[in-house]
Symmetry: C3
Subunit: 113 residues, 3 copies
């Protein structure tokens, strides 16, 4: 499938709803994400030899490929974790009015001024 | 990674559980989605100059690349929002029996009759 | 967009939180997933001619492309469903320390010994 948009869906995970809201607001304020969705999850992973299971909050941030690097920098600066999970899934197709809205929102950020 | 399937995961977001259930049922009834998952989220985005945060419901619809355009048309017709977020993530790999089930379910829709 | 990582995000769905926790623990124990996130959802799909809607639990497992086939085998062996949804979304970009952590965790699994 050839991609018809340059949008990406970026995921990261924090410990609390408050941390998630702070990251969501910061990335939208700086126009590095057009919108951010957060949801409660439970995570299982290996930590110092033990398998742990704990509640977390996941963010899904919508941005463009061109803004991913700057968004990752901001997330790492503000993130409560030392090695946060931050990764982007490519978006293959998007409704044209929605893709236009995302692009227009992000076009006004500092990288474009 | 070369893709071994033509499945896609389509996302859209509405305000209420009832709206989500209506869209889920309509897309499955018309065989434009083989299955739909919904979940409660909170969204942060810019609206008329303000940053807003509100509860929403996200849908993840499983379909094929060939059915994406018709699914997007149906979602836009039935969607409560003026500019809904509708976009598709490519699926790179899928369990063969599952991919076969999705394809078989969708093969009976109107586009194939 | 050219991919800068070989990570993938794998999704599957089960009926209960307990089933989800068992799959999460098994895949992390065998180092076929570096971390697993689970969340409550509602699913709509066609079953024996009827459209059904039921609560389920979704898993999102982070692994590498090289480990996908072995992970799918393990998921199918342990899965409570006859034809489970199991599929992988490609990850286009990832924070370098995170990608390094995933790769390091998985490098110690049986396939590498």
């Amino acid at each position: 499938m050839s991609r018809t948009t340059d949008l990406v869906a970026v995921f990261t995970t924090v410990s609390t709803r408050q941390q998630a809201d702070l990251l969501a607001r910061a990335t939208v304020e700086q126009r590095l994400a057009a919108c951010v969705q957060i949801e409660a999850i439970h995570s299982t992973y290996r930590w110092q030899g033990e398998i742990v299971n704990e509640p977390e909050v996941r963010l899904m941030l919508k941005t463009t490929q061109a803004n991913y690097a700057a968004l990752e920098v901001l997330l790492r600066q503000r993130h409560p974790y030392e090695v946060p999970a931050i990764f982007a899934l490519p978006i293959a197709e998007a409704s044209a009015p929605y893709a236009g809205w995302v692009t227009a929102v992000l076009a006004q950020n500092a990288g474009h001024s």
